[in-house]
Structure formats: C-alpha cells, structure tokens
C-alpha cells in the first residue's frame, strides 16, 4: 500500500496527465470524423497545459504577491509556468480557429466532414 500511496503522491497526477495526452493522440488517430479529431487535438493541448500547471504546484505556498511578511522564494508559487501556459492557451486558440476555418471550407467543398466521405469525393 505504501508503494502505491507514494506513487500516487509523487507521480499520480503526471500519470493522469500522460493518460490524457495519449487519449488525445488516440482520438486524433482513430476517430473518423474531422470535427472529433479536432476536439481530440484540443484535449491533447489541454494535457500539456495541465502538465505545466502540475509541476508549478507547491504545497503551502501562496500566490506571488509581495505581502511584506517574507521574501523567501519557497513561500511563493513560481508564476512563470502559468505565464507560459497563457501563451500556450492563446496559441491553441489560434490553432483551433484556423482548423475550424479549414473545416468549414472542407464542408463547403466536399459536403461532409466524415473522413470516409471526404476521401471518397477527393479521390474522384
């Protein structure tokens, strides 16, 4: 039991994040609908964001605001990973936007976003 507890305490959250990441990849490979592929892609990107937020987490630390009590860096949470992930969220928003625009054009041209149907019409 101790081993399991230790594992869950130190690596549990990272395992879950990895499961989420590969669920995303799995969905992108196996779903037959382009919209679903896109959603799986978003799941994958969210997993990366979680990963950063998890390793930035610290027990008993506070938000990085100067409160006059302490200047010890251990008392604060590192804000940089959160800042980085704001950028990554913006990037994933941009990617999703471009992808949806492309999907709309695909729907216009082929009349469907099902992979089978699109490939059938594309090969004609």
């Amino acid at each position: 039991m101790d081993v399991l507890n230790e594992f869950l305490k130190t690596r549990g959250i990272y395992s879950l994040v990895m499961v989420l990441f590969f669920l995303g990849v799995y969905g992108m490979v196996l779903s037959k609908n382009y919209m679903k592929k896109l959603m799986a892609m978003n799941v994958m990107q969210v997993a990366v964001i979680y990963f950063y937020l998890c390793f930035a987490q610290k027990d008993g630390a506070m938000i990085p605001i100067q409160n006059g009590l302490t200047t010890n860096p251990d008392a604060y949470i590192n804000p940089l990973p959160h800042g980085l992930m704001l950028t990554a969220i913006v990037v994933s928003l941009g990617t999703t936007g471009v992808a949806i625009a492309l999907l709309m054009r695909i729907k216009e041209i082929y009349g469907s976003v099902e992979e089978k149907e699109v490939l059938r019409r594309a090969s004609q």
């Binding site: 896109l38 892609m41 992808a99």
Partner: protein
C-alpha cells in the same frame, strides 16, 4: 543602427505583415509592396548581422529586449551558424515574395493582402525560430510559422484544404511534444534560456527525465522537419500549396526545425553523453530510412511536385545523417546541405510555379519542349537537378563530399553506401525529367496565361528564377569560403576541445 539589426530581422516583416491588410484596403498592391520592402530590409539587416559576427571572429551577438538581462529576459543570440541561415531564409523569402506577384495580379484586395500577410508572418516565424536564444520563444515562433504555413497551403485551391487540415493535426502533435520536452527541461533546470540551459543541464544528463525530454524534442522536430517515418503530411502539403509560395514552403519550412534540432543536440545537450549518443544513432537510422524510402518513392511518382516532395524526405535524411555522425565533417556537411537544399528545392519549386502559371498542369510526362517555351526555367532546373544529384561544380557536390568525409571519419561505412545509392537514385529521377524536357516531342498543352517573348514568363517571375540558378553555381564556387569563413567560426564546443 547596426546594433539593433538583430531585432529588425524579425520586427520589420512582423510590422509590415500586420499592416498589410490595411494598406491593401487602400490600394490593392500597396500591402504587397510593403511586405516585399520589409523583407528586403530584413535581408539587409541579416547581412549586416552576419558581417558583424564574422568581423568579431565568430563571437555571438546577444541582443536583449526590454532591459531584462538573460537568463530572465528573452534574448536573440546570433552566432555564425544562425546568422548565415537568417541570410539564407530572408534571401529566399525576398525572391519568392517577388515571384508571387503575378499569381495574385487578378485577385481582389482581400486575397492579395491575405496572401502577403501570411507570407510575411511565415518569414517572421522562420527568422524568429532561428534567431532566438530562448526555448519557449522558439515555441511561439514555431507556432507562428506553422499557422501561417497552414494558411498558405490552404490557399492553393480545392484539394489543399484537406492537406492543410491534416498537416495542422500532425503539426500540432509535433508542437505539443516540443512543449512537453521544454516542460521537462524547465522542471529539471528552472531556466528557459538556451545558454543557461546548456550550463545547468550537466548534472541531470543521467536522469530518465532527460531521456524523456530528448525523446519528446526529437519526435517534435522530426514531425516538423518531415523526418522519415514522420513525413506523412509532407507530400500533400507541398503538392497542393499555393504555387507562388510553394518554393518558400518547400525550401525553408523544414530547415528551421532542422536548425533547432542541431541547436539542441550540439549546443545545448552536447553529444558526449550516453543518452545523446543513442539519440544520435536513432536520428541516423531514421535519416538512412528517409534517404532510401524517399528516393524510391520519388521514382514512383508521376506528379512533378510529389516527386520533389519525396525527394525532400530523402534530402532531410541527408541532413539527419550528417547530424547523427557526431563529428566535425558531418556537422559541416549537415549545415551546408541545409543551405544548399533550401536553395535547390526553392529553385525547383520556382520552376514548377512557372509551369503551373503558364500551363496549369505539372504532369511528369508532359514536359516535352519546355526548353523552347520556358528557357530560363529550363536552365535553372538543369542546374538545380545537377546540384541535387551532386555533380561538381554545383553546390550539392560539396555538401555530399563533407557528408562522405564525416562517414569516413566516424568509420560508418554503411552511411557511405547509402549516400551513394541515394545519389544514384537521385540521378535516375532527375535525368528522367531532363530527358522528358529535351528529347521528347513537344507536349500540346494549352496556355493558361499565354506569354510571348524570350523569357516565357512575366519579369517578376523570371528574375528570381535566374537569380536562384546563379546562386546554385555561386554556392558551389564559394563553398570553401562559406565553410572556412563562416561555418567553422561557429562550431559547437564539442569539436573544439
């Protein structure tokens, strides 16, 4: 002025690209001219930077932004290796932006503005990726490059939507893996600055996290640079992309990730540790696979563009192989091949753009009589093809020579055999095209855009073609100067000890 040149390389095209739509709204071609002028200024800044770096004996220029000193702030670091690549990218970008003008001349302001906005942003992304000294900043520029690249590929017509969408899905996996790798590195060392990372990574190289980070980074860059077996997106993307921009996409978009891989492998992680040595072996095997499979697939293709796309897979394999040798000659060969391949592949896609513009089809077996209709294109094509095969005195010979020397030095005779086989296959499929053009009887193709006269193409298209053709010869002629004067100044520390 000259101390601010590093930032101008990125800042000018970025500003121009963002203003492009506004200017296009006012007057249809104004935005396009603005972007072209900004790219020309960016080329001038890149040449200034290269000059300064070489004059300083290869000492890197550090340009910090906003008064934040590294390792906290973001900086641009320009050493001989990346400043020569910046000159290359901006040079090709300038030629191709000029070349794109006839393709958009019948469109309305929205299309012209959109095309040149995306083109400017693609240049920004590539230059930023190469110039930056910060690993997260590299991710941001990687995404700028990818998103504008998806847009330019999607502009190519009906079939290109599907190619762009697939590339978007696969490319996002690559970028996410890169971000994961950066996450591991940050968790280990607590820094994002490349120079700082190189100094702090030392104690961690035996931890499994480091192996994980290296794996993530190599797969991520492998997807972006179309390293075999991660090249699935690439033939469609190159084939269906906008014919005016295809030369830039095919020539440069795989080079920036390849450069980033070299930067990580040789300058940050160093190659003298067990994890990196096995990583290099894997890169080498993938490179060899790409060289063989790419060349064989290129033989089987009937579409000229698709053939070149598969030949790109093979050429990226050469670069990966040079990286994997882990000695000085291999490194020089890889860098030189990056430069040469960018020029050659751009030249070939410029030729194809001309054929598409004039006739609308690029079937491999309908090229007969092209030597009479498109004389300049034919000369460029022959020069580029000879260079791809690796005949002296064209550029391709010298990079292959250095790759051979690298394989000989590391006593990896298998690499030498593969190099020769792949070169022979190159010769087969390029001589097939030359035979089609010169020997076959004239193909009866209706003109889409009829053009009389000696050039066979509008002037903005003929000039870049001629310049690229001359550059292939020039690079071959001055390759010794490029190697001794520039690349050898910026060798990674591993080779200097």
């Amino acid at each position: 002025m000259s101390q601010h040149a590093p930032i101008f390389i990125v800042l000018l095209p970025l500003t121009a690209a963002l203003l492009c739509m506004l200017f296009s709204r006012m007057s249809r071609n104004l935005g396009a001219y603005l972007v072209i002028a900004s790219i020309a200024a960016s080329l001038a800044s890149a040449i200034t930077v290269l000059n300064n770096v070489v004059a300083a004996g290869g000492k890197a220029i550090h340009y910090t932004m906003g008064g934040w000193m590294p390792p906290i702030g973001i900086e641009f670091v320009l050493d001989p290796l990346n400043s020569v690549l910046l000159v290359l990218i901006t040079f090709i970008s300038l030629l191709v932006s000029f070349y794109g003008l006839p393709f958009v001349k019948d469109e309305d302001w929205l299309h012209v503005g959109g095309y040149y906005t995306l083109f400017g942003l693609l240049t920004v992304g590539l230059c930023g990726m190469i110039a930056t000294g910060d690993v997260f900043n590299l991710y941001v520029f990687l995404e700028i490059m990818s998103l504008s690249g998806y847009g330019l590929i999607a502009l190519g017509g009906k079939k290109s939507m599907l190619a762009a969408f697939r590339y978007l899905l696969i490319g996002t996996i690559g970028a996410s893996l890169y971000l994961l790798g950066v996450g591991y590195l940050y968790a280990m060392t607590g820094t994002l600055n490349m120079a700082d990372l190189a100094a702090l990574i030392g104690p961690h190289i035996h931890s499994p996290l480091f192996a994980m980070a290296v794996g993530c980074l190599i797969i991520g860059f492998g997807i972006k640079m179309a390293l075999f077996p991660l090249h699935g997106w690439q033939p469609d993307a190159y084939t269906f992309s906008h014919p005016g921009a295809a030369a830039f996409i095919a020539g440069c978009m795989s080079k920036a990730p390849a450069y980033a891989m070299i930067r990580f492998v040789y300058y940050i992680f160093q190659v003298n540790n067990p994890v990196m040595r096995s990583a290099l072996d894997i890169i080498g095997i993938l490179g060899v696979g790409g060289m063989l499979i790419g060349s064989f697939m290129a033989l089987a293709m009937r579409d000229f563009r698709r053939m070149l796309a598969y030949s790109s897979v093979a050429q990226i394999g050469y670069i990966a192989m040079g990286v994997a040798m882990g000695n000085m000659y291999g490194f020089i060969g890889a860098v030189l091949h990056m430069i040469n391949h960018a020029i050659m592949k751009s030249g070939l896609f410029l030729v194809i753009g001309g054929i598409v513009y004039r006739f609308g089809v690029v079937h491999l077996y309908r090229l007969g009589g092209m030597n009479k209709k498109l004389t300049i294109s034919t000369i460029t094509l022959v020069l580029c093809a000879l260079s791809m095969i690796g005949l002296p005195p064209t550029a391709g010979f010298f990079s292959k020579w250095y790759l051979m020397m690298g394989a000989w030095t590391s006593q990896n005779y298998f690499y030498m055999v593969v190099l020769v086989i792949s070169s022979l296959l190159n010769a087969i499929y390029f001589f097939r095209i030359i035979e089609q053009m010169f020997v076959q009887r004239e193909a009866s193709l209706p003109d889409v855009h009829p053009h009389e006269g000696k050039l066979g193409l509008p002037v903005p298209m003929a000039i870049p073609l001629a310049v690229i053709g001359l550059t292939v010869l020039f690079l071959g002629w001055y390759s010794a100067d490029i190697i001794n004067g520039i690349i050898k100044l910026g060798l990674p520390e591993v080779f200097l000890r």
